[in-house]
Every structure is written in structure tokens, then in C-alpha cells.
């Protein structure tokens, strides 16, 4: 697949779009593609929720977006530069501008909280400072401030794996704050905490992100949270985008089709859909005002 059109597009609209995906796909071995042909433009300051059933490819998409997983085909253009063409040093620089929060928070449990928070600075620090900081913590004031912002001011010196799941997720949030990334990705950040806490953490994430003018892409299990807190909602199913709308434009029908139409509509499997004359997957329901901003400017 040619990458030329995507690249030339990127040249025209670098200011408004922080992230452009062009026909992004990922296939593991000979399995069905986990993500197929996603084309998406993300403007600066947008808060996007990605919803969809488990196995829809959300995690694969996120790992490609934070440059942990190279795509099988298609291109990612971050702030105007196609990621595939970056050398190791430039790749590090781009990674620094993308902050990630995972479902299982993926902190280093045996390190104290402050080091996990300060690891947000690793993209900025030269190696010698990173090593020195393990012995003599640097930027301690910033780490304390970030922890205060997520409501964990008193846990600075605690060992990370002594905290509860919700608290660890807040530590991950504090780390992203310290990283001061332009784009914050959160993959199911609240899937493993109780509903009330989930609400708090998502609200915290969106509020802190908005205040600092960050772009946010968050995948969620909980549709209610997605509709309440975000400015744009994407439906992802079988690795494809099924709709891309403002929250108030999301209809119950869209959601029903997103979450296993077979269950809602009485045992009609997707395989049966393929066989019928109707298109297996309706084209993404796209709301016009979210068309590529290149045309708008």
C-alpha cells in the first residue's frame, strides 16, 4: 500500500492535527487482522473515547499509537512526521511526547512511588541523570506536585506494589503528568477498579488533560463514561471503526451494533452478515464536522 498520499496530506495540515492514521493495520502471524485499515485524524486538544467489545483491537491500536508495536501496514503521522521513517533518536523524542496509561498500569512494583512518577522524566533526562535519580531523586518537587494533583501526596516514598489498584492507576497518571506529553493515551485505564473509582479517575484524567491543553485518547469499557466526559467517541469492532461521532450523536442503535449485534438482534452472527447481500460492516457513521481539518483550513 502506498504511503505517499498520507505523507503529502500530512504536509498540508500539521498545525491542527497532532495525529493522523492512514489505513493502519496490524496482523499477528496468520490470524485475522487485529486492527484493519483505520484512517483517523486527531486534532490538538480533542478528548476522544474509544469504545467497543473486548477483542476489538483497542489494545493493539494503542500499542501502535504509542510506538511500542510497529504496524503491519499503513502509516502513523505524529505532529507532521511519519513515524516509520524516524531514526532511534527521533523515535525517542516522539515517544516522549506521547504519554501512556495502561489497564494494568504496568508500573515497576518494586520501585518506590517517586521513582515510578519520575520515570516520566526519562525521555528528557540524559542517562546519567536518570541513574543518579535512582540514588538521589531529582525533580522531587515536581513529582510531589504531580502526586498532589492526583490526590496521593502522602504516598511519595511508599513502595508502589503496596498501593491499591486504584492508587497505582493514579501513580501512572502522575507519571504521565510529569512526562508532560502532548498526546495522552489511556488503554482501559479503569477496567480493573470499582465503578465509583472509575468515574473519579476518568474525570481526573479528562480534567487534568483539559487544563493542560492535552490531546486525550482513552479506551473504555463503560459507555456512560465515554459519553459523559469526552468530546468525540469512536466505536471499534473487529479492528475497524464503526462510528466516529460527538457523544450526543451516538444512538442506541450504533451501540447495539457495536456490542455484538448477534446478541441484541437475536442470534444473527456476523458470518451470516457476510453471506448476505448487505454490506457486512456498514461504512463508519462519520459526523461531518469531524472530517479531516485539512479541508476546513
Amino acid at each position: 500500500m502506498s504511503q505517499a498520499p498520507a505523507t503529502s496530506q500530512a504536509m498540508s495540515g500539521t498545525t491542527a492535527c497532532i495525529l493522523r492514521l492512514h489505513l493502519l493495520s496490524k496482523r499477528f502471524g496468520s490470524q485475522q487482522a487485529a486492527v484493519q485499515g483505520i484512517t483517523l485524524n486527531v486534532r490538538r486538544g480533542e478528548t476522544i473515547a474509544v469504545i467497543g467489545p473486548s477483542g476489538a483491537g483497542k489494545t493493539t491500536l494503542f500499542r501502535m499509537l504509542n510506538l511500542s508495536l510497529p504496524p503491519t501496514s499503513g502509516s502513523i503521522i505524529f505532529a507532521g512526521s511519519p513515524v516509520a521513517s524516524l531514526g532511534p533518536k527521533q523515535l525517542r523524542a516522539v515517544r516522549r511526547r506521547i504519554g501512556s496509561i495502561y489497564q494494568q498500569h504496568h508500573l515497576v512494583g518494586r520501585l518506590r512511588v517517586l521513582h515510578n512518577v519520575l520515570s516520566g522524566r526519562l525521555g528528557r533526562w540524559p542517562t546519567w541523570r536518570a541513574l543518579l535519580s535512582l540514588v538521589y531523586p531529582l525533580d522531587l518537587g515536581d513529582a510531589a506536585a504531580a502526586l498532589r494533583a492526583v490526590g496521593l501526596a502522602d504516598k511519595l516514598y511508599e513502595r508502589t506494589d503496596h498501593l491499591s489498584g486504584g492508587q497505582q492507576q493514579r501513580v501512572a497518571l502522575a507519571r504521565v503528568l510529569l512526562q508532560d506529553a502532548d498526546l495522552i493515551l489511556a488503554d482501559e485505564p479503569v477496567a480493573s477498579v470499582d465503578p465509583q473509582l472509575a468515574d473519579e479517575i476518568v474525570e481526573l484524567l479528562v480534567t487534568l488533560g483539559r487544563e493542560a491543553g492535552k490531546t486525550l485518547i482513552v479506551s473504555l469499557h463503560h459507555v456512560g463514561l465515554a459519553l459523559r466526559y469526552f468530546s468525540r467517541v469512536l466505536g471499534l469492532r473487529d479492528g475497524e471503526i464503526t462510528f466516529d461521532c460527538r457523544p450526543d450523536e451516538v444512538t442506541p442503535l450504533m451501540l447495539a451494533e457495536l456490542y455484538g449485534g448477534d446478541r441484541v438482534f437475536g442470534g444473527r452472527s456476523r458470518q451470516a452478515d457476510h453471506a448476505s447481500a448487505a454490506p457486512a460492516m456498514p461504512l463508519p457513521t462519520t459526523c461531518l464536522h469531524f472530517q479531516p481539518p485539512a479541508t476546513a483550513t
Partner: protein, 282 residues
């Protein structure tokens, strides 16, 4: 939806008991080839010799004079084991870093490097070299290393230090490499996604995860090193082993008993220390 009993990905083994059969054959062959004769232990002559040996051990020689004389060799053994372990840790670390697959050419940290064949070669060669060297160090028993080093640098504790350092360096290197390969990769990916360099990912992600296992295993090896240094004394590598050998040769079995009790005490103390350290590391 057919729930087939046979999963195509995990076909049923044609001979489910083949492995058990092979194990039994191996055991039987070992029994034959090593000429196992448990009855020989209880034959009249064997019994007499054993009784003489064990009987001679009691009472152990606890005279102040003997104990004072043995204090030096005892200290030598402790120092030998510690110096040997320091050397082993250095050798082990130096070889584990190139021998850990995840640090060389697989895993989270290498998705970019993989695209470049030149780097791949630069990674595979040190890996193969380090693994080969580790195997060589482990293949030669520590007793043979001791004999080699006694020839090279003369009698005394120093060849013992070298023997333990080299033989245990091979063991520690392999274990360290495997511990490094076994750490959870997700925190490493997270660290990398913040833009951290490789050394920073190593120190923030791999070291904290690997350290407790590495320390705990190293302490266990230290315990083994104390026992080994007692054996190494037999070939002239100093310490308490040399005294055991001397007393054995002079048929002073009650002294042997005292010395064995000392080794037992040392091992027990090592065990206490390592248990305490492991508790703190948890």
C-alpha cells in the same frame, strides 16, 4: 459452533506414556551402568569399616588447643568463599548481559534494531559467544578448575578463590541471564514509551524486577561455595578442607567430626543470613 474434542492446535500425543517409559528406561540403564549394589553397604566388611569410621568420630575433638589451631583455616574458608563469590558475581554479570536474549535481539527493546541486519549480527555474535563461554565454565567441575589453578599459582587459598570464581561465575551468569529474560516486559514497554533510553529502561525496569531473584540465588550459591571450598581443600586449595584431608589421612576421625561440625555451623549461619536478607527483599 462445533465443540470438537480434538483441538487442531494441540493434537493428541500418539503415545501418551512414551515419556514415562523413556524415564524408566533411563533410570534402569543408570542403575545397571553404575553397578548399584545397595547390599554392599550392609555386607559384613562394609559394615565394619563404616562402624570404625563413625565410631572413631566420637567424641569429637573439642580441645581448646585444636579449636584454636582450626580458627585460622575456618576464617580462610569463609574468606575463600566470599572472595570466590565476588569474582563469580563479576564474571556472571559480565557474561549475563550479552547472554540475555531480551537484551540482545528479542523483546520490547528491539523492535527497531531488528530491522537492521547489521545490528542483528552484532547482537547474535556476543550472545552465542557468551552462552558458549558460560557452558564451558559450567562443564568443567570446580574440582578440576582447582587442580588447574593449583598448578598455575601454587598451593593455598588463592587457587580456591579462582576455582570458585570461575566455576560459579558460569552458573551465576546463566541464572542471571535467565532472570533478566524472565522479567515482566510490560513495565519495560511503558518505560520505553516515555522516551527512556535503553540503559534507563534497564535500570528502572529490569534491575528492580531482577534484583530479588538474583540476590536470593547468589546467597544460595554462597552457601554452596562454603561447602565447595571444604572439598577444594582436598586438592590443596587451603582452608578447612585441607585440615579435613589431613585428619582423614592420619585416621584422626574425631578431628574430622569437629571440622564437619564447623562446616555444618557455617552453612547454617549462611542460611540464616540469606533468609534474613530475603525477608528484607520481599
Amino acid at each position: 459452533m462445533s465443540s470438537a474434542p480434538l483441538d487442531p492446535q494441540h493434537p493428541r500425543q500418539p503415545l501418551p506414556y512414551l515419556k514415562l517409559l523413556l524415564a524408566l528406561v533411563a533410570f534402569g540403564a543408570a542403575w545397571r551402568l553404575t553397578e548399584m549394589q545397595p547390599s554392599a553397604l550392609f555386607a559384613a566388611e562394609g559394615r565394619r569399616n563404616m562402624l570404625a569410621f563413625i565410631g572413631g568420630m566420637f567424641p569429637p575433638d573439642l580441645s581448646v588447643d585444636f579449636l584454636q589451631r582450626m580458627l585460622g583455616p575456618l576464617l580462610t574458608t569463609i574468606q575463600l568463599s566470599i572472595a570466590g563469590m565476588v569474582l563469580a558475581i563479576l564474571i556472571g554479570l559480565a557474561l549475563a548481559l550479552p547472554a540475555a536474549r531480551t537484551l540482545r535481539f528479542a523483546g520490547v527493546l528491539h523492535e527497531v534494531a531488528l530491522r537492521r541486519r547489521r545490528r542483528w549480527l552484532l547482537a547474535v555474535l556476543p550472545y552465542a559467544g557468551a552462552r558458549g563461554l558460560l557452558n564451558l565454565l559450567r562443564a568443567v567441575p570446580e574440582l578440576v578448575w582447582a587442580l588447574i589453578f593449583v598448578r598455575a599459582v601454587g598451593l593455598g587459598a588463592f587457587p580456591g578463590v579462582l576455582a570458585i570464581g570461575v566455576a560459579y561465575g558460569g552458573i551465576l551468569g546463566k541464572i542471571y541471564a535467565e532472570i533478566i529474560e524472565g522479567v515482566a516486559p510490560q513495565p519495560l514497554e511503558t518505560l520505553q514509551s516515555t522516551g527512556a533510553g535503553k540503559l534507563a529502561v534497564f535500570c528502572y525496569g529490569i534491575v528492580p524486577q531482577a534484583l530479588p531473584h538474583a540476590v536470593s540465588y547468589t546467597l544460595y550459591r554462597w552457601e554452596c561455595a562454603i561447602r565447595a571450598s571444604a572439598v577444594l581443600g582436598f586438592v590443596g586449595a587451603g582452608g578447612i578442607g585441607q585440615e579435613i584431608e589431613l585428619s582423614m589421612r592420619m585416621f584422626n576421625f574425631h578431628e574430622v567430626m569437629t571440622l564437619l561440625m564447623m562446616v555444618f555451623g557455617l552453612v547454617a549461619i549462611t542460611d540464616l543470613i540469606s533468609a534474613a536478607v530475603r525477608r528484607r527483599l520481599r
